[in-house]
Structures are given as C-alpha cells and as structure tokens.
Symmetry: C2
Subunit: 240 residues, 2 copies
DNA sequence: AAGTGGTCTAGACCACGGC
DNA sequence: CCGTGGTCTAGACCACTTC
C-alpha cells in the first residue's frame, strides 16, 4: 500500500517538510540540486503528480527554483522585505537587545483618529498603549498602539513590559496577524518626544502609521510610531 | 479525442484565458462564482486535474479565491501596494499634473556614494541628474539620480524635461526595470533644499534612497529623493 | 444528500537542456 | 541520447459547506 496521509498530513506536505528539514539542517545549500520528481516519488512512495505538487508549491513559496530539463534547486533565500515584524523581532534580526518602557496603558474613549483607523464607532473605548522603545540601551522610538477595548479586554494587565504584543495577541486572543498598511512621512520632534527620545527639539523623526490586519481581514491594531532618524531606517522593496 | 494543446497553448492556459476574458468583459465581477472544477472540465473537455490546475494557479496569481466546500470566486482586485512607479506615474495615479525642472545634468567622476550604490568602481563616470519635482504647480520633491555614464551615454541630451526617465530607459536603452530596494528615513532641510522646496529651513523631510534593478538583476539607477512631508506620503504594505 | 475543493494514483507523452 | 520538468488522463476517495 502507498503511504498516503499519515496523521492527517497530506503526502505532499510531508515531502515538503522533509526538504525544508534538510535545508534547515544545512545539508542542502542554495544552488544545490534537490531530488527530482521521479526520485522523490520513489523515495516517498507516492505518485509522480504528488511529488510534483510538493515541488511546484515549494517553488511558488520561493523555497526552490525549477528549471526544465535541468532540475530543481534550492533557491537563494531572499531577504524578507516588506515583512511585518514586531519591535522585538526587528531588534532580534539586528541582534540587538530590545527593551521597552510602558508610559501609558489605559482605556479611553475620546480618540477620534484611533477609532477611525480601527474602523470603530467614533467614541468607542480603545486601549491606548504608549511605549518607549529601547535598543542596546538607547531610546529608539516612541510607539503608541490602539486596540479595541471590547475585543481585547484584560490586555493591559498582561505582561507587556516583558512580552511582545504580537505574541500576546496571537497566543491569548487567537488572532493571527496578516499584514499592515502603512503611511510613512517625516515630522519634527515636539518637546516631550525630544526629551523622551534624547534628541534635540524639532529634530526630524520618521513617522509611521500602521493599520494592522488579521488573517480574517479585520483591523486589529493601529500603531503610531515616531522613530529616531539616526537610529532607524525603514527598508522596503517595491516592484514594477 | 480530447482538446489538448491547441497552437501549442496548454489546455489549462486556455481555460485561464477564458476566465480572464469574462472578467475583463465585466461578465463576472469580484465575488461572483466561477464555474466549478467539474463544470470547467466538461466545458473545456479536459480532465479534472487540468481544470483544477487552471483554477489553482489563478488563485496563486490572486485572480480568484477558492473556498473548500463552497466554490471558486472572482477575487477583489488588490490595490497595487509597494509598486515601483516613476514620478510621472505617481502623480498620474493621484490625478495631478507632474512637472519637473532639471537643476543639474552632467557626467561627473567623484561621486563615491553613488558609484558604491551602483556597484561601479570608485571613480567611475556617472551621470548625475538633479531634478526639482512639481505637482499641481507646487514643488514636491528634490530628486537626484545617478546612472552609469558608460552604460547610458547620450542620455543627458534626451528630452528628460518632457519625458519620464523610466520611459526613456525602457524605450531607448532596452532595460526593463524590475524592482527597487529602498531605505527610508527622515532628515531636515538644508538652506538650499528649503529654498528650492519652499519650506522653512530645518523642516522635516522624508528621505528615500532607491537602488533600482533591471529584470536581469543589474543595478540601473540610484535615486536620492527628498520629499516635502506635508505633500508626500509613502504608502506601503507589509506582510507577516 | 449534494456539491465543492483537496489529495492522490499510475501511468502517458511532450519540451527542453546538457552531454 | 538521457534525465529533467511540464502537461495531461480518467478516474478515486476525502473533507468541508450548505441546504
């Protein structure tokens, strides 16, 4: 009998998993040849179409690259541009230690811009969370997040000074974040912000307004961030 | 006999073409149900797997959306985020008239940062092109582009005050632009820039450094742009 | 229960690249 | 020439959604 679904996992997924595993283990490096469709079919005891499915969808994911008449190769890992990351994740990817100080965390009901961005009724109760972000001991950014207070009740008591807001949302509230639409411009530091960030008054700051959506297409978060221009650089890729 | 390849076009492509056609004709609108795999297989006289292939790859392209147990629907067309556009195209998409004044256009050989970004030898000759960008009669941005003088000889004499640089490159030099890697931060206006853009000295400006690649993966352009923060907003989408 | 998409088979032939 | 990926068949059963 053929090895069909084991534990409810489709065969093609198992094959993909096996390939991913050897890549992560470093046994296959970018440019290396992956077993051909026919080889994989034999190895995993599946039909050609199934082996093919595994490779084809790995290709659309960008894990491998296929060349007709030649073979399937490990793709050179692309840098993850335009990737929505939590502050903690961003710092981690730059191997800096992230730190964060909560300046404000309360439910309020008179934030017009926030309720509008969150697609809530004008005077809805929202949780406002203002945090000063550190990296390597230096103040980096001032971030103010807004969430629907109704949807995320009890959040302010969570250990946000220790854990990433993204993680908390994903673990405790079962929301999976999917993407963010962001507006980027420049502004000058007002006295309080300058003081907090340790920069001169009227210094130029990068301002990013993020509206973050869940996988279900619902707005979860609105974040207004002010970033020290000398410490922070937004890196993006755009396509023609 | 089954209708296999006609004119060398694979059957699944023909099916995709047929679906795209009815979408473009407006006969099917976003949210509308597409014929099911089984229906398509009958209509086009192909096997289920082929009909399926057609739909599956239309889904990865974002043309349709499939829901198990329900059906395949026309996807709502996505807004083109993270799209690399020329200044002219950007203005056009906001229905503003673009204007541009060339401040400087000469070949120089002492631009270290530019040669580095263009992946050229340190003292290579580069064409430096500084342009003041207008929109609706108002100054918008100051953009300085650098190109390899060797590769694009004769470019400065082109009618850049009339035609987009992107168009000129694509038509006269046979380069097809593919994507750009960009670094975004904030800076303050120096006296000359402030004067040119009509803003106060030390006003906050959005600074974008673009390295633009061709479809062949070769760096074509380096653009340093300074944008009036009150007139310009970078809009991007990031994914988790 | 009926219809949908999701997975899978055990083959087949074609188109392409490199030797 | 051989091995690769690309297309395709004529079915099958499963999982899911809707009624």
């Amino acid at each position: 009998m053929l090895a069909k679904r084991t534990n409810g996992i489709p065969a093609y997924r198992r094959i993909q998993g096996a390939i991913r595993k050897v890549i992560e283990a470093g046994e296959l490096r970018p440019g290396d040849l992956v077993a051909s469709e026919r080889e994989l079919a034999k190895i995993h005891n599946v039909s050609l179409m199934t082996a093919r499915h595994a490779l084809a969808s790995l290709e659309t994911e960008g894990v491998v690259e296929r060349r007709r008449g030649v073979g399937t190769f490990i793709a050179t890992p692309k840098i993850h541009f335009n990737k929505l990351m939590s502050y903690t994740e961003q710092m981690g990817s730059r191997s800096l230690t992230a730190g964060s100080k909560i300046l404000f965390a309360r439910v309020i009901d008179n934030e017009e811009e926030a309720t509008a961005r969150l697609a809530l009724a004008p005077r809805s109760r929202v949780l406002k969370l203002e945090r000063l972000r550190h990296g390597a001991g230096q103040p980096f950014a001032l971030e103010t997040c807004y969430l629907s207070a109704g949807q995320f009740s009890g959040l302010q008591s969570a250990q946000l000074h220790k854990e990433s807001l993204f993680s908390t949302l994903e673990r405790d509230y079962d929301v999976e974040l999917a993407y963010s639409d962001e507006e980027v411009d420049a502004t000058t530091a007002d006295p309080r912000t300058a003081e907090l960030l340790g920069v001169p008054k009227r210094d130029a700051l990068l301002r990013i307004r993020q509206v973050i959506y869940s996988t279900k297409g619902v707005v979860i978060l609105y974040v207004l961030g002010l970033y020290r221009s000398d410490r922070h650089n937004l890196v993006i890729r755009r396509y023609r």
